[in-house]
């Protein structure tokens, strides 16, 4: 779970990593009351990337410019999200911009430290950053990182400060259970000090049971999430809206993606990733159908479940009941395979529904139905 720059910087400051002096402002009144030395950077606070390129960071040279920047930014949307606040920071006197991050790296089985002597918003266009595979945070070794840095960073003073800061970032990630702590840019000031001008911090949601701050962030995000996503999370379904027209109800993350790809392979597009394996009950399927029936872009629904531990005959009974009292006329295609699927086919058949033998047949069927309904 990505947190805002302001939250991320609070974690940095708690571990004595230098950040610019800043004010987080939520209203025009706060903007008017705030005393700052101009110029300042005015930065949208959203838990989404790409903010800088989207105009979410502006420079203000006067109170009037600050007010208008605040109003402009608060009116923007970033990845669909409205900023809850802006961060107003003293404008930095920049000698050089570095990139420094610690992040979980699956091939390392733990953390890697990433460094580039040329950071900033175009970091992704340059060569990939240097990667120091650390593993467990406690395996960080200054001398090992130094040996890797020497060919990349020629300024010995900067090198030593980068090493200290990297150790600090690992301590932050460990103590707060973050999967990413990225500083881009890490500014070398004219005086030679390193200042974290931005912070991208991702908290490990799985640690919420022992991290009150993570639990609170998840709760806040849930409150802010759109209603459908929240309903699904509460019901233990996993929903991601997509741009297509085929409403997909499936089981398991991997098979749901496989079904999405199969829909694409048949010339259509999925309208969602919707995994009901966490709650394959009348309540779970009921919510899934309700959401897809109401969604205007969904033109038809495909239910595809492969029964492993799941008994597909139970799913069939659930679907028969649900379809009987459903009001929507959007076409539906069913495919239940695996454990007790013969019985499922019988149950569906008796109620007048066809159980398709394979995912591919079911996909072809729903794509045809949706195309037919359109023409």
């Amino acid at each position: 779970m990505l947190v805002t720059e302001a939250q991320g910087k609070a974690l940095l400051r708690a571990a004595a990593v230098t950040t610019p002096s800043s004010h987080e402002l939520r209203s025009l009144d706060e903007v008017r009351d705030c005393r700052v030395d101009f110029p300042v950077a005015v930065k949208a606070q959203v838990a989404a990337g790409g903010r800088g390129k989207a105009g979410g960071i502006q420079k203000a040279n006067s109170p009037a410019e600050l007010e208008s920047a605040f109003a402009a930014i608060m009116g923007m949307r970033f990845g669909g999200e409205a900023p809850a606040s802006v961060l107003v920071e003293s404008w930095l006197d920049i000698e050089r911009e570095l990139y420094l991050a610690v992040a979980i790296d699956s091939r390392v089985g733990g953390f890697s430290v990433l460094y580039s002597p040329r950071g900033g918003i175009n970091i992704e266009d340059g060569p990939p950053p240097l990667s120091y595979p650390v593993g467990l945070a406690r395996n960080f070794r200054a001398h090992a990182f130094r040996a890797l840095l020497e060919p990349v960073e020629s300024d010995a003073k900067v090198r030593e400060r980068v090493i200290s800061t990297a150790r600090r970032l690992l301590e932050i990630a460990q103590a707060n259970e973050c999967t990413t702590v990225e500083i881009n840019p890490l500014v070398v000031s004219r005086g030679g000090a390193l200042i974290a001008a931005d912070a991208k911090v991702v908290l490990d949601e799985a640690a919420a049971f022992r991290r009150a701050a993570t639990a609170a962030t998840i709760a806040t995000a849930r409150d802010k999430a759109e209603r459908e996503i929240r309903l699904c999370e509460e019901a233990n379904l996993m929903l991601v809206w997509l741009d297509g027209e085929i409403g997909l109800i499936s089981g398991g993350a991997g098979m749901t993606m496989a079904a999405m790809d199969a829909i694409d392979g048949a010339g259509a597009q999925p309208a969602c990733f919707l995994d009901v394996s966490g709650n394959p009950t009348p309540a779970g399927f009921g919510l899934a159908f309700d959401l897809l029936d109401r969604a205007p872009n969904v033109k038809g629904i495909l239910v595809s479940m492969f029964g492993g531990g799941l008994h597909t005959d139970r799913v069939a009974r659930t679907l028969v009941e649900l379809l009987a009292r459903r009001a929507s006329s959007k076409p539906v295609t069913l495919r239940l395979n695996g454990t007790r699927s013969d019985l499922a086919t019988t149950i569906l058949g008796e109620a007048g529904h066809r159980n398709h033998a394979t995912l591919e047949m079911a996909v072809a069927d729903i794509v045809k139905k949706v195309a037919g309904a359109r023409s």
Binding site: G135, A207, G252, G254, T256, M257, D261, G338
Partner: protein, 296 residues
């Protein structure tokens, strides 16, 4: 042969008194897997479905000579249970649970490596060597013995993929779920090495997805002159960037995470690519056909 798990498996279930633990006793028995002991602190001396329960893993290992453990405990005590099992000397452990903090996964992985144990999981259905033994909760009817080693990041995908392979006559030496989390016990590179060293495995099938970098381990392997032939099915071709697709690790954050980048790397390395689930059996056949040919 098979990897890690064979018909001599003597399985210990940690958390045997829980719902999953008790279910697993019956399920494993149906898969001809010998369950010899259960562990539940404070419940030593009881029995569950006829299986003796011990208060510690060390006591269970000593009494029953278990050599594989299946761990069904909640995420908040999973690290404790896995460390206890590793340090009691158990060489093979499956922890299927999901929702494990990544720091705990890192500790588990490090402890397993340090003790020379193999940990399967977290967030994985476990490991099965069809016809021999099962250490997990995957549906046994999906599997059949045969010459293919299967590695999967997704439980649901592996069930259906193996079901299709088995139906098409492509049985498996072992099927290992390396799990959907970013940090895991046995990872792709290690699973590949195990299958490489298993004489009965003639080809490797990798069931992967977007996000993370495990797939590149297969590309690295496939470039080796002595590599066994391999095929891969990656899902998530149509997934958008920046959204987590169910699994903690299934998110496209950079180009390297994407389906296109991974497929390109695998294809260039000589891995047979199945574009869809539908093409998997053909890919398996193609890989196996290469295995038949003598090395050039």
């Amino acid at each position: 042969m098979s990897i890690l798990l064979d018909s001599d498996a003597r399985v210990l279930i940690v958390g045997i008194t829980g719902k999953f633990g008790t279910f697993s006793v019956k399920d494993l028995a149906q898969s001809h897997t010998r369950v010899v002991a259960g562990v539940a602190p404070g419940r030593g001396g009881q029995a569950i479905e006829g299986i003796p329960v011990f208060s510690s893993v060390a006591a269970a290992m000593q009494e029953t000579h278990a050599n594989a453990a299946l761990i069904y405990v909640p995420a908040m005590v999973a690290l404790d249970a896995v460390l206890e099992t590793i340090e009691a000397g158990c060489p093979l452990i499956a922890y299927p649970g999901d929702g494990l903090p990544v720091l705990d996964a890192m500790e588990m992985r490090a402890a397993a490596l340090e003790h020379g144990a193999h940990l399967v999981g977290p967030n994985s259905p476990g490991l099965i060597s069809p016809g021999k033994a099962k250490l997990g909760f995957m549906p046994s009817f999906c599997y059949a013995p045969g010459p293919i080693g299967v590695i999967s990041r997704s439980g649901s995908l592996s069930y259906e993929a193996c079901f299709r392979l088995s139906q098409a006559g492509f049985g498996q030496t072992s099927v290992i779920g390396i799990g959907g989390d970013p940090v895991r016990g046995v990872n792709a590179a290690e699973a590949i090495a195990l299958f490489h060293d298993d004489p009965e495995t003639r080809a490797i099938i990798y069931l992967g997805e977007i996000g993370g970098s495990e797939e590149y381990a297969l590309a690295d392997y496939a470039k080796r002159p002595d590599a066994k032939p391999s095929a891969a099915l990656l899902v998530g071709r149509t997934a958008p960037a920046g959204k987590k697709m169910g699994h903690a690790a299934a998110m496209i954050g950079s180009y390297a995470d994407s389906w296109a980048a991974k497929v390109e790397a695998l294809d260039r390395a000589g891995v047979v690519i199945a574009r869809d689930l539908d093409g998997l059996s053909a890919a398996a056949a193609s890989a196996l056909a290469r295995a038949m040919k003598p090395a050039a």
